[in-house]
């Protein structure tokens, strides 16, 4: 019998691999170890993707299957789903992991429907149970509750994973084999829906995900002018600024990629400093893995205080200027 294989569907947008692609290899490695040594395979669709394939091969993938075809240059749901459905029918994997991104999430749901198998979405953890089934831990009610999902009888067991949950493997872990797949199945398909183009907004700012210190601002910050205090503090600490939904809606922030929580990003900084944030579950799920949480809230009853390691009950305007000044003096 062949050794079991964990499959990962990696993704590229305009010739760039997305961060979750590498993190999925990290997740696959964890599962492969739990399986007692499975191999890690990934599949990538696109045009001119040899370099990307090699990048994946040097980041922990044992096998990199490439579907290289001009018709796959942009994400086309019908082409992509057609290819992957056939590919997985041939490969018959036990486990397939996908990114919980707009593109891969939609694609995974499409392929799951065609394979008539299960798909759990936005998993926050994955592990095997005693029977060797994949336990897919999904958030419900904004993350207040976590539920285990199993797919006992259909295969593959498929799950999507958000960016920022698993760590990528470092470069140099393995040198996988590159395998080109036949894409002639696309010849018989003329997609009804066509992706005409991708408009990239300025390159995504990844500093927030990597920052050791994140200063988070909420509705209590009160104005764009006050917001500059948060920016000042974070830049002194070499950190980044994140926000809650109301702060985003007010337009004080640097764009929606800085929103932390259920509908936003997940971060794991050394220190998170939450300012004017009440501590709703939708926000907390995004910061719960911070090593230290400090919060400043003027309301002693604000829930965030009990979800923090340290809390300050005060108007932040009375604390931040002094803190900033002190750090400036010190540096």
């Amino acid at each position: 019998m062949l050794p079991p294989e964990v499959f990962v569907v990696t993704e590229q947008v305009q010739g760039q691999l997305t961060p979750v692609s590498f993190e999925l290899l990290g997740a696959a490695k964890k599962l492969a170890e739990e399986m007692g040594g499975a191999s890690i395979s990934c599949v990538l669709l696109g045009a001119d993707i040899r370099d990307l394939g090699e990048d994946l091969a040097s980041h922990g993938a044992d096998k990199v299957y490439l579907a290289e075809d001009q018709r796959l240059a942009l994400y086309q749901n019908e082409y992509y789903a057609l290819f992957l459905t056939k590919f997985f029918k041939k490969q018959q994997p036990e486990v397939v992991l996908w990114g919980a991104t707009a593109i891969s999430g939609e694609l995974a749901a499409t392929v799951a429907a065609r394979l008539e198998t299960g798909l759990s979405a936005h998993c926050s953890d994955l592990h095997l149970n005693e029977e060797g089934l994949l336990v897919q831990v999904v958030p419900a009610f904004g993350g207040k509750v976590l539920g285990d999902i199993l797919c006992p009888s259909r295969r593959p067991q498929m799950a999507t994973v958000k960016t920022g949950i698993f760590s990528s493997l470092s470069k140099g872990e393995g040198a996988g084999e590159i395998i080109y797949e036949d894409t002639s199945i696309l010849d018989g398909c003329s997609p009804l829906l066509k992706t005409l183009k991708v408009t990239k907004e300025k390159d995504r700012d990844t500093s927030l995900k990597e920052a050791a210190v994140v200063v988070g601002g909420g509705w209590g910050v009160g104005s764009g002018e006050n917001w500059t205090l948060l920016e000042r503090l974070s830049s002194l600490l070499g950190g980044a600024v994140g926000c809650t939904r109301p702060a985003l809606d007010e337009g004080w922030t640097n764009g929606e990629h800085t929103m932390i929580g259920t509908s936003g990003i997940t971060i794991k900084p050394k220190v998170y400093i939450g300012i004017g944030i009440s501590g709703a579950i939708h926000h907390l799920v995004g910061i719960k893995d911070a090593e230290m949480i400090i919060s400043i809230n003027k309301d002693a009853k604000a829930p965030i205080l009990s979800f923090s390691d340290y809390g300050v009950v005060a108007d932040f305007k009375k604390v931040l200027p002094g803190l900033i000044e002190k750090i400036e003096e010190l540096s």
């Binding site: 939609e106 979405a121 408009t199 907004e201 600490l237």
Partner: protein, 269 residues
């Protein structure tokens, strides 16, 4: 000009404003969610609004479809009060426990029975389960092209529509013919409020209720039996921390903060 027929899939969910109150009963390990009112899934109000705007532009009718227990009729009336013309409630004990695939099957069976249409609009994401699976899977079950995370819908002509799709990196511009299934996001519009007039008019609008038998749907294709995924244990993530308060005058607090930042290794000065 051809009139449009637009179907909108809506789902009642426990009000997301109250999710902090949801928990797990330690003894029975089941969900505690009593007293939390149901609302139309917020994102589905964007779907209704998008449909109403298309109707205002092109003319036509807007009909709501929901798979839910019988008491969801009240939520469908709320959608009718926003301005939709008619509603279908797909309700049967055998639907309970449906995962996304089984839900998509039931919705597709209901939509097939409704007949011809130009567009099915759904939300992209529900607030309770939040899988984002149902919209694409419904498209698959109907054998139609589908696209979700849609932030604007622009009709090009009678049959051709252009969609702006939000992705993490920016946008995709997608084009295709109707009929199709479109999942909209919450940026596409601001849903209108219901008016007293709307609520009164909704009382006279029709809500059709269909069971599994009406849909001629196979019992083992729906509900928990027809679902490839099966729920296991529930947990509550541990969020509580020490919550130690830093007290004193602002200068004292600042010194304590400085000490903490040093201790955490993020302030070297």
């Amino acid at each position: 000009m051809k009139e449009r027929r637009i179907l909108v899939c809506i789902k009642p969910v426990p009000d997301p404003e109250h999710y902090d109150k949801i928990g797990i009963d330690p003894a029975s390990k089941t969900l505690v969610r009593s007293g939390i009112p149901a609302v139309i899934n917020p994102n589905d109000k964007n779907a209704i609004e998008a449909a109403l705007e298309i109707r205002e532009y092109w003319g036509g009718i807007v009909e709501l479809v929901s798979m839910a227990p019988p008491d969801a009729e009240e939520k469908l009336r709320e959608g009718l009060a926003m301005g939709a013309d008619k509603a279908y409630l797909l309700s049967d004990r055998s639907f309970a426990g449906s995962d996304t695939l089984a839900t998509a099957r039931v919705l597709a069976a209901g939509i097939a029975k409704i007949g011809s249409f130009d567009l099915v609009i759904t939300g992209s994401e529900s607030a309770d389960g939040g899988t984002t699976n149902v919209s694409p899977q419904l498209g698959e079950m109907l054998g139609l092209p589908h696209v979700c995370n849609v932030e604007s819908i622009t009709p090009q002509n009678e049959e051709q529509w252009q969609l702006n799709v939000k992705i993490e990196e920016g946008y995709l511009k997608v084009e295709g013919p109707t009929p199709m299934v479109v999942g909209v996001n919450d940026k596409i519009n601001t849903p209108r409020y219901t008016t007293v007039m709307g609520i009164m008019e909704a009382e006279d609008k029709e809500v059709v209720i269909w069971s599994a038998a009406d849909l001629e749907i196979d019992n083992d294709k729906v509900g928990l039996t027809g679902s490839p995924t099966q729920p296991g244990d529930l947990h509550e993530p541990k969020l509580q921390r020490a919550g130690k308060l830093l007290e004193g005058e602002p200068e004292v607090v600042v010194d304590k903060l400085i000490r903490l930042l040093r201790q955490a290794g993020v302030l070297n000065a």
